[in-house]
Symmetry: C3
Subunit: 358 residues, 3 copies
Amino acid sequence: MPRTAADIAEMLQAQCLGSPSREITDVVTLANARPDSLTFYKDKKSLKGVESCQEGTILIASSWAEELQKRNSDCTWILVADPQSAFLEVIPEFVSVPDRSTIGISPTANIADSSSIGLETNIHAGATIEDDVVIGERCEISAGVVIGRGTIIGDDCLIYPNVVIYPGMEIQNRVTLHANCVIGADGFGYQQKDGRHAKIPHYGNVVLEDDVEVGACSTIDRGFLDSTRIGTGSKIDNQVMVAHNCQLGPHNILVSQVGFAGSVTTGAYVICAGQVGVADHVHIADEAVVGAKAGVHKDLSGGETYLGAPAIPESEAIRQVMAARKLPEMRSQLKHLEKQLQKMQQRLDNDQTQKPAA
Amino acid sequence: MPRTAADIAEMLQAQCLGSPSREITDVVTLANARPDSLTFYKDKKSLKGVESCQEGTILIASSWAEELQKRNSDCTWILVADPQSAFLEVIPEFVSVPDRSTIGISPTANIADSSSIGLETNIHAGATIEDDVVIGERCEISAGVVIGRGTIIGDDCLIYPNVVIYPGMEIQNRVTLHANCVIGADGFGYQQKDGRHAKIPHYGNVVLEDDVEVGACSTIDRGFLDSTRIGTGSKIDNQVMVAHNCQLGPHNILVSQVGFAGSVTTGAYVICAGQVGVADHVHIADEAVVGAKAGVHKDLSGGETYLGAPAIPESEAIRQVMAARKLPEMRSQLKHLEKQLQKMQQRLDNDQTQKPAA
Amino acid sequence: MPRTAADIAEMLQAQCLGSPSREITDVVTLANARPDSLTFYKDKKSLKGVESCQEGTILIASSWAEELQKRNSDCTWILVADPQSAFLEVIPEFVSVPDRSTIGISPTANIADSSSIGLETNIHAGATIEDDVVIGERCEISAGVVIGRGTIIGDDCLIYPNVVIYPGMEIQNRVTLHANCVIGADGFGYQQKDGRHAKIPHYGNVVLEDDVEVGACSTIDRGFLDSTRIGTGSKIDNQVMVAHNCQLGPHNILVSQVGFAGSVTTGAYVICAGQVGVADHVHIADEAVVGAKAGVHKDLSGGETYLGAPAIPESEAIRQVMAARKLPEMRSQLKHLEKQLQKMQQRLDNDQTQKPAA
């Protein structure tokens, strides 16, 4: 285990400014820096945020080398290309994370005989695996998880406690499902019949492609006949709702409390910030970014940022918000102009009546 | 099992245009139509959406008969009054859904002796039924469900895994509760006492009337002394919050992520689209429709559509949104007008000073 | 058990107006008042809400004594300083709530040998307690709860069914966690690496201080290295999201469906109404109140009320909303002004051409 700034610098093959023999006992965030702690500073444009820091060892961008040498600081600096990545690499040297151990199948798990469980997969206490489920290797099926009939799960999946997966789903490899999320509930569709909402049965499933992550208490509904699909590498935060038949592209980011109505489709690298809502059948193209709380009700072209409800391009939205702040002022201006105009009109009228008959 | 377009037409007692001997092996959505698949087209005003479809058998409204006969299409058309209903009727011929089987009570379920379970009701692995619970006939109580002391459940209810029902609730007949929803948590009420929020205990319960459906991860809180009530046939999507003492009328539709504060009341056939919020004690009258993301803070009269936060009638809201888009332009117009007015004023002043003393 | 209005008055050491011998068999809300019921009326400014009530016994503010004596009412009035508090005090005389009984550890609970469970703590059916968990005295760990490795829980905590607590959390004393909430899921943080979102591991935990309450299906994520912290006495409603590294002060109120992005900090007695969203790293100062659906994207100073998205001080927000309603009208006014100005200009031009060469 590295014990000094020099050790860390060596591990990262990086240069060290200040005392290399400084001891390091812990990794912390910048606000908590102590003489014997290691932290990181990732800003490449300003040293403002790190100026007040008088203690400890700090991973920082190499581009600051010259500037730091001019300054008088008690800190020890380790110069790296990407401070955050370097910090993430060093953390495990100081924080012990228990290795995954193969405990196998808990005696209190409820597992159908017709299911198939891969090598080194753990099934924890009270989990329920229904008929014809197939689970790959090295998966973690935590306590209280329920996996419905016929669902297929790939390798290296991490399913946290009390997750519910409805029958017939397809979960590919290295998928993470956080606690209490629900994969595959019925799509919300009804027909009006004799004054009642008659349920439209949903026969499709949900497909979570490789490396998808779904947050706690999020819900992804099954499709009507086809699959609701989350593209490879897409990451979904807590309390997100994705409705029936949605087709998300690869590497999307959906932040907490986002809601997608039915049949929404997205390209690659789409980002939706917190509490965004998207109406049914809308398409959001590659690399579009939708700002927090926006409401999207028609197709968005790619590569742009959108704000507001209804969502419009960012620059336009900001102009509107700025103008809206001026609204009360504009009302007074309007009233003032009206009065001035009236006065001028009167003056003109007077002028005309006073004018000598030419 | 029907195998040709003619078989389906016969089953639906419908007329067939094009080749009746065309084979059908699958039911699909329009976008996935193949030569041997059956799909449906429900639009009664335009054929636009189906024009590109060159293959397979399509259920379509009878009113299109004449128009279709004029066209040259390779598709086989089955003419019906309501294509979607007909399609839903045919699906089970092609998609096998396992019959409900009576498995009875799982040996790993935890069931209090004082509870009563109706005939043909299944209690799955690890479900917990507390004291004095009464459950009707033909219910499905899935794995991991917890039903609190004294709760009463009617017949033919379908409770998905890991649902939690607090003590003393009343669930009537044919109610569906999706995974991880919570019925009957405490209402969120506190009194300030000596600088602390002292909890107001909630003694009421939740009543879910016949044919109510509640989505995954939705929460319906118990009333203070009375019941929080969801009227017969009302359908609630995923991640919806209904607070203490709400009284929802029959056949309401609450789309995903809607939030109702305490003591909201609604009439019949009210619809709230996704992410709507309704303030406490508001009444929404019969057949009112509240658009996505709207914020309702006062009573809404029935039969109208409302948008925006604060929610206003749709036409007004659209006018406001359109006007808001013109805001930056209006600001320039205002400035321009001011300048023009100043100029005229100067010109008038000049005129007057230049004017010969009449 | 008290049986007459006089009994209740005696119990509360309060004065009684009207018939003291009136029998009381039940406690109800005002709308459900009957001749033999007790209810309360808390308004101290107007008797409007209680005027229509012709029956039963009513707890009311003493300040109304004189006014009530003038009126002719069949009700019996009990005069108290704080009618709601008095009512809450009386309720348990009429509504029986079963005492907490010590059932100990259910034989179907799954409890690691290395965990430690305090005196008089109940562990219900199917709960899972992992290695090195420490639980205090008189706690209720309900059915299906999962508590991860190394978590520490204080005394008198009430954990409802199917709650999931990730490893390493700290739950202090008298904390209530409602059903299906999730404490300690990973913070939602990724680094872009070779076109993929590489997970930033989160090593911190969640600390819930004394007397915190968390609603059903709410989620509080663990910090990156430090703790996500909820201050003493803070109350969180259902379906609320608090992201990684947030630091909430004491006695906050977060109403349903509120979402806090990462590293938000709050002072004491902050209130966020339903569906509020707060951007990352924002600070909300003491006693700030954020209205329903507001979107907060920069620091808010204390003691004020904020509305709108972006959130601004209440009075300003109301002026904007009012002005926005006038927008369509303002557009017409603008057009009208423009025309008038044009006309005047023409008139001036005409005047000038008609003017005799002086």
